[in-house]
């Protein structure tokens, strides 16, 4: 499958364009890194790719068609702040199985302890919540997995283990990965291709001017 952003632009309300005419394409099986300084629009670009926001110009295509608007979405995004991505009035067990029922092996490899599932989100740390969010988004129907600063809040060892699990799964399922990070070393280590967001979003724009 092919996920493509075709000349997408975004701005919030009447402010200046955050980025304009950004184009990029991703294939299942690829692991692509996305680098860029903070505040340059990487997170917004990810939201557009996953269908969380509408583009002001251009379109996001999955195999040439617009993103599906019902059912389990094949493009899943992991947010930077897990505490906002879970309902504070749901216990962890309900949160994790909202889209599908994660199997025991996946819970083990993400090091999710079973007793967490009986707790409220306010009783879990950011790193623990993020692992729940990752498990939630890794249903078999997921074709593209977008990780926006997914492991920033974790210590180095847990970070390495979680990436190992997610990358193994991506490889065995032939899933496409987009990894957004400030961490150049992480991206160099796990990605097959690296995109600099400034070139992607402002490169063409600069030429036009």
């Amino acid at each position: 499958m092919r996920l493509e952003a075709r000349n997408v632009s975004k701005r919030y309300a009447r402010e200046a364009w955050l980025f304009r005419q950004a184009s990029a394409a991703f294939r299942t099986g690829d692991t692509v890194g996305l680098l860029g300084p903070s505040g340059c629009g990487k997170s917004t670009f990810c939201r557009l790719l996953a269908g969380y926001d509408a583009c002001d110009e251009g379109e996001v295509l999955l195999d040439g068609a617009t993103l599906p608007t019902s059912g389990y979405r094949p493009v899943q995004l992991i947010f930077q702040h897990p505490e906002r991505a879970v309902n504070p009035r749901w216990k962890a067990g309900a949160i994790i199985s909202e889209g599908w029922r994660p199997d025991e092996a996946l819970l083990d490899s993400l090091e999710i302890r079973r007793e967490w599932l009986k707790r409220w989100p306010s009783e879990l740390s950011g790193g623990e919540l993020q692992r729940l969010c990752i498990a939630r988004a890794l249903a078999p129907q997921t074709r593209f997995f977008i990780a926006d600063e997914m492991t920033t809040m974790l210590d180095a060892i847990t970070q390495a283990r979680i990436w190992r699990t997610v990358l193994d799964l991506a490889q065995s399922r032939g899933m496409g990965m987009l990894v957004v990070s400030h961490d150049r070393h992480l991206i160099d280590r796990i990605c097959t291709r690296v995109i600099d967001f400034r070139e992607l979003a402002y490169g063409r724009h600069a030429v036009e001017e």
Binding site: A50, G51, Y52, S70, G71, Y72, R73, Q76, L77, F79, H81, R84, A85, V86, N87, P88, R89, E98, G99, W120, S122, E123, C133, R136
Partner: protein, 271 residues
């Protein structure tokens, strides 16, 4: 004893205190409310715990009757206001921009008029008396709760976990019942409970000003306004006990609402 049991006990005591006037008032029948000119102006004693007034009426019976009446008015008014607030708040958040703008304007309009003036105007227009008071109090207590519900719903709708739920393939109905309602109903219940003391105090206030219930009804506002004339002659019990009862009643609602809030909030479940 953890906070949960303690909260439960507090809330139960508050509830009993609230129901007491309603339970007592039918038992304190006609005779104690009748005038006994031989027992005029008696200070508190065992036969008349709250004393008697200048016509020899038992103040305990009058206070309980008055509180029961106030509770009735408060209940009707709080329910009416709660329903209006809920409906308008939901409509503002669900029916799009034009409806939202209109309802926000309506809320601002109601909040910009001094509340007591609005109460007096509506009570006057609807003909005064118990009916006028109930209509006035019921029609004017919704704006702040409606605004709260609208804001809460708008914030929930754009929150990340609701967006994620949609990406998990969940329908609008599913999201409304599983994600939105569990957040809204505690706000709604606590908000409506907290309308009670407002409604009761406002009922007392307009009755005190002479625009509310008729003077022969033993409403708390009437008792207090009548006692004003006798305070200077040293009959302190005429205002003290009914006033204290009103404070206890209002405070009980506060405690009850606080207890409900603490019991349904998961982030406080371990305290």
């Amino acid at each position: 004893m953890n906070l949960r049991t303690r909260t439960l006990i507090y809330a139960a005591v508050a509830l009993v205190l609230l129901l007491l006037p309603a339970a007592l008032s039918p038992m304190l029948g006609g005779d104690r409310l009748a005038t006994h000119l031989a027992e005029r102006n008696e200070p508190p004693s065992w036969t008349h715990p709250f004393g008697t007034d200048w016509l020899g009426r038992d103040m305990f019976a009058r206070s309980m009757k008055g509180l029961a009446l106030s509770l009735g008015v408060g209940l009707t008014a709080a329910l009416a206001s709660g329903l209006i607030a809920g409906a308008l708040g939901l409509m503002a958040a669900a029916l799009g921009k034009a409806a939202d703008r209109f309802i926000t304007w309506l809320i601002d309009l109601f909040l910009s008029v001094p509340h007591l003036v609005l109460l007096l105007l509506i009570a006057f227009v609807t003909g005064g008396g118990a009916k006028g008071v109930i209509i006035a109090v019921g029609l004017t207590h919704w704006p702040s709760l409606a605004r709260l519900i609208r804001a809460e719903l708008l914030q929930l709708k754009s929150s990340e976990f609701v967006l994620v739920s949609r990406h998990m393939g969940r329908s609008n109905w599913w999201i409304a019942t599983r994600h939105l309602l569990p957040h809204l109903w505690p706000q709604f219940i606590v908000g409506t409970l907290l309308l009670f003391p407002h409604a009761i105090l406002h009922e007392g206030a307009i009755t005190f000003l002479g625009m509310g219930l008729s003077p022969h009804q033993p409403a708390i506002g009437i008792i207090l306004s009548e006692s004003m004339r006798y305070l200077s002659t040293g009959m302190w019990w005429l205002a003290f006990f009914p006033g204290l009862c009103l404070v206890v009643l209002v405070r009980s609602f506060d405690v009850l609402a606080g207890g409900v809030h603490a019991l349904v909030d998961p982030s406080r479940s371990q305290e």
